[in-house]
């Protein structure tokens, strides 16, 4: 394992020291592993998210004015505990309630449920928006359902902007929910990531193969294929998304995220092909982001997310935001 770390079991505590040093606008509750925004929130809804570590900048990189009020960091690829989520809610609630943004994984769902109960006991109102956007996973009521991936970034941005407008918890949740329902994602991996505590890649992948339909937790994908040129990969993921939901006739927010080990030059090559593939399907990209937004440690690969955006979502997307990983208008 080649990583810029110290003791593998201290990687999260160590990274939070770096976050605290790099971002004086944020406060870090090191005991509970919660990163808290320095932006004012008197009287407005607070947005809290969290999940396993290893997906940076998600979530702590999106803590700041116009986006998240707090993020909880779990162990690597492990949902945080209800205690952490409760601490986050207590840090940021100012009476208007707290929206939990939860990615659909059994652990995250269960722990946020418990946290909501605990928060209720403490007199904090909470609501939850669940993100389950990965089209490579079958959508079935008999299973755990789809994973939550890239749409989370858009949900957090839009929810944060709605909260900044002073809207009610119900209102904020409603628009966040709309984003969640209108987002779809799909990812491919060229290499496996390595969990620091494990020390070796989660799976082996021959030099000429890739995993199609991967999530963000180092799990293998839906299937393994020969490595193909960027154009074919772009067609495959764009079509899988477009086949799952019709994105024509609506403005679309497109997010192409690296998975942690992929340099920008490759992401731009991919985005060129994605833009071509979407245009061929009659999909009009209104806003785009290309870079590392939701990652899986040092995995090489990328994921594409499309969110169909109505006028309100677009307006909230464009609203000012000031976080380490997403910033405009401020």
């Amino acid at each position: 394992m080649k990583k810029l770390i110290g003791d593998p079991s201290a990687v999260i505590a160590d990274a939070l020291l770096g976050v605290a040093a790099a971002h004086p606008d944020q406060t870090v509750d090191h005991e509970n592993r919660v990163v808290i925004s320095g932006a004012p929130r008197e009287g407005r809804v607070a947005i809290v998210s969290g999940g396993g570590t290893g997906h940076e900048p998600l979530h702590a990189g999106f803590v700041g004015a116009g986006m998240l009020d707090a993020a909880c960091a779990g162990e690597v690829f492990t949902s945080p505990t209800p205690d952490q989520m409760l601490a986050a809610a207590q840090h940021v609630d100012s009476g208007a309630g707290v929206l939990f943004v939860v990615k659909n994984y059994t652990g995250d769902v269960l722990n946020f449920e418990m946290a909501a109960d605990l928060a209720g006991d403490e007199g904090i109102r909470t609501a939850t928006v669940l993100v389950a956007d990965d089209v490579s996973v079958e959508d079935s009521t008999y299973t755990a359902g789809r994973r939550g991936v890239g749409t989370t970034v858009v949900v957090e941005k839009v929810a944060g902007a709605a909260a900044a407008e002073g809207r009610s918890l119900e209102d904020v949740r409603a628009v966040a929910q709309r984003v969640s329902e209108n987002g779809r994602s799909m990812g491919v991996a060229l290499t496996s990531g390595t969990v620091p505590a494990v020390g070796k890649p989660s799976f082996d992948l021959p030099d000429d193969e890739m995993e199609v339909g991967v999530g963000i937790h180092g799990e293998p994908g839906r299937r393994r294929e020969k490595l193909r040129p960027a154009s074919e990969i772009a067609d495959e993921i764009a079509n899988a998304i477009a086949d799952d939901r019709d994105f024509t006739g609506e403005p679309v927010i497109a997010l192409l995220s690296g998975l942690g080990g992929t340099p920008q030059i490759e992401l731009y090559v991919m985005y060129g092909e994605i833009a071509r593939a979407l245009e061929a399907r009659g999909i009009a990209v209104a806003r785009s982001l290309v870079g590392d937004y939701i990652t899986s440690l040092d995995m090489a690969g990328c994921s594409l997310t499309l969110v169909a955006a109505d006028d309100e979502i677009l307006r909230l997307w464009d609203a000012p935001v000031n976080t380490p990983a997403l910033r405009w208008g401020i």
Partner: protein
């Protein structure tokens, strides 16, 4: 066949030892069809639990301490599910004296896993090891036989296609691997049998 507080704390110590011994194996199982943290998660949980059960008086307090520790220290699916298991088992246990109806306590714990996780037998989860064990106990089997039933249940997860937990994301590719949670649950029941022996 009542269990003393000492025996119950022996159970937790035995489970902790088994988890420590098999941590890499559990993580390897989770690498294949999950996210490579099940061993680390349980080591974290059992290590913390051992500190908290020191001097717990009575079965209920002891099991409750274990449940709270799992919930507040582990995270992930297993932290929440094993945590609920112990919390509900605690509620079905007496405050003082011996835990006499072990089957009822385990059933209560298992029921809360089902209630939280909405999985059923055959979904390729820890339930596949726990359900046959509890059913065996309810049918009058010994704890040792229950542990064997859990191990058989664990092994039976291998060919299954997962419908719950992360392994479900792999679809057909989840077949051919033992479920990590079923493997840890088999260790849990075996540790109980050994603590009671």
């Amino acid at each position: 066949m009542g269990l003393t507080t000492d025996q119950l704390s022996g159970w937790i110590r035995g489970f902790a030892a088994a988890v420590a011994e098999h941590a890499d194996e559990l993580t390897a199982l989770d690498s294949a069809i999950g996210d490579a943290d099940h061993g680390t998660n349980l080591v974290r949980g059992t290590t913390a639990a051992l500190e908290r059960i020191e001097g717990a008086s009575g079965p209920r307090a002891l099991l409750k301490a274990v449940g709270m520790t799992f919930i507040s220290k582990v995270g992930g699916a297993s932290g929440s599910l094993y945590g609920s298991f112990f919390l509900e088992a605690a509620k079905a246990s007496p405050e003082e004296g011996e835990l006499s109806d072990v089957a009822a306590a385990l059933r209560a714990g298992l029921a809360s896993i089902v209630a939280r996780g909405h999985a059923e037998a055959g979904d390729k989860t820890m339930i596949d090891a726990l359900e046959p064990a509890v059913a065996a106990l309810e049918g009058g089997a010994s704890l040792a036989d229950a542990a064997s039933a859990a191990e058989a249940g664990r092994d039976a997860t291998e060919p299954l296609v997962a419908r719950k937990g992360r392994a479900s994301y792999l679809g057909e590719r989840s077949a051919g691997h033992v479920d990590p949670g079923a493997a840890s649950a088999a260790l849990l029941v075996r540790a109980l049998a050994e603590a009671a022996a």
